[in-house]
Symmetry: C2
Subunit: 335 residues, 2 copies
């Protein structure tokens, strides 16, 4: 039985959105997966939270890290916050996954500080699934755990992403690409040029070279590596662009009677289009490199995004990926 | 009269696509703007190029820089390539704009080496227009001239972008934002943190702080600054995503009869949607910082993108932006 602890106060509209996301998950998921919501009891109740024993449990915790929290040592001093509690539960093996849609920097810092990095892994990465034109998903990392990575960090992201694609997505011999500003080996800044050489020398990886921005959603590579700064911005640009495109489409449709009628008739197709290009379908990322399954999503997550992040959390916990990664990285030779 | 010289051999499908783009421009533009196509005569003729005297002139030139050219000094040694010739014509004031959809790195290097940078401007930037939800455009730079900029370079991009928005787009008091991974001042890497301070101290700029990826297309800032590495990837991601979204929409529509009928009825609205979200509508960027109007677009440009790049070229040449920038930057105090 998988146990997922969720930060009830994580997110711009917590706990309401979080509770709605949990309900959606518990309705659709028919396994015995258990959700432990760590939250002030009063907030939990007033957001409509009910305990569907034994599948939804409340762990009372009054304090929480605000969304605009600035990183400081107080994060570790106050052991009675919702985030601290769920990371502690993971450390003590009381749960299988720790998940929050709260302040990502705080949550990642707590995970690194408390759970510690796996042997030989220097820096963590957040890995997400991106939809692609092959009706599959592309593994994309890092999207924000480390904004100034070194060559070794990015090289390790490639190794972790490769193992993730194999273990969680069942992709055999995944192709691995480096996000860059051109196809040729010499493209990009010094970091990218050195990394290209290193990836190219690796005989175990199926490295397919540089991937340009317009190829990210085509499925040209199963795993795409980038630094946390670009990765974070690209993820948000994609999300914003999807939303902007939808606004423009609706505006154009509403401008004319034929637009409205056509939309009404084709609405199923257009809704399916909207669903497939909705960021919320892919909401949620997983922190790679620390000891334990930590999943995150951003503060603006909708209940649907929370639901999908829970589906992802369960999927990763059910796979043997984290055990494999621990074993695999233990053999890495550091340079 | 504006004279635009175009590299007939610039682009993945040159000269055919280039000639088609020129024809589109000459049909729609009713001014006396003249296009000078620098190209091997044989290629020009076989691509259907006709001289609509006096508005389209051919300048015979046999050699050209290939799309996959790797930067080397031979770029400057061979003075008889299409790119070299159009930059020379600009330097000699025989034309008002030099434009190529060819190898951007080569074209930018030739422009910097031959035309030289304006006084006090250290590094060039490529500036593009992005569509936004306010039915206007956002000035976005740099998209690839400089992949490893320093704080001073990015600060100057903000000053140049501000002046561009005022002079070319007639935006009064344009808001300027820094693309970053969070709203708060302390976000991002060291480069971004230092730049934020510097932009914030400037009393002339209407600096509105950090802009997150999902806000890039909302019009929250009129001018958005970033490094050439992120900028280039973001531009290509946006373009690729737009194309992927359209593929997914057409796939969904074709799946059902109601989808097809609805699409047929609403086709005008949906075509207008497709047009507004088409990268080709915004094809073309301008190189800021060198002495002379140099415009570029990427190798995959369609005739429509070439047409729009020519419209942009004309617009910039008609504005007093480059003269203003020369005067303005002449007064900058270097640090």
């Amino acid at each position: 039985m998988i146990k997922i602890a969720i930060d009830g106060m994580g997110g711009d509209h917590a706990p309401d959105i979080v509770i709605k996301g949990i309900e959606m998950f518990l309705e659709k998921d028919t396994s015995d997966t258990e959700i432990i919501c760590v939250c002030p009891e009063e907030e939990f109740r007033s957001a409509g939270g009910k305990e569907f024993l034994p599948r939804l449990k409340l762990v009372q915790c009054d304090k929480y890290i605000p969304m605009d929290f600035k990183l400081s040592l107080s994060l570790f001093r106050d052991k009675d916050t919702t985030m601290y509690r769920i990371i502690e539960m993971l450390k003590n093996h009381e749960i299988d996954v720790a998940y929050s849609a709260g302040n990502t920097a705080a949550f990642v810092s707590l995970a690194v500080g408390t759970l510690k990095m796996m042997t030989n892994i220097d820096r963590p990465a957040i890995c997400v699934h991106l939809p692609n034109l092959k009706d599959s998903v592309t593994v994309f990392l890092d999207v924000g755990a480390n904004v100034s990575p070194k060559v070794l960090n990015l090289y390790q992201y490639a190794l972790m992403g490769d193992l993730y694609a194999k273990n969680v997505l069942d992709i055999k011999n995944p192709s691995v690409g480096l996000l860059n500003i051109g196809e040729e080996p010499g493209k990009g800044d010094e970091l990218r040029q050195k990394l290209f050489q290193r990836l190219n020398q690796d005989t175990e990886l199926n490295f397919v070279g540089n991937i340009e921005g317009h190829e990210l959603f085509t499925g040209k590579a199963d795993v795409v590596i980038t630094d946390g700064f670009s990765g974070n911005i690209i993820l948000k640009v994609s999300e914003g662009l999807g939303r902007s495109f939808k606004s423009i489409m609706l505006k154009e449709i509403k401008r004319s009677v034929s637009g409205k009628i056509g939309f009404f008739i084709a609405r199923n197709a257009l809704m399916e289009y909207a669903r497939k290009t909705d960021y919320a379908e892919y909401g949620g990322g997983v922190l790679l490199g620390t000891n334990g399954v930590v999943t995150v999503s951003h503060g603006r997550s909708s209940p649907r995004a929370i639901y999908h992040a829970l589906v992802l959390s369960k999927r990763i916990a059910e796979s043997s990926f984290f055990e494999q990664l621990r074993e695999y990285s233990g053999k890495w030779v550091q340079q």
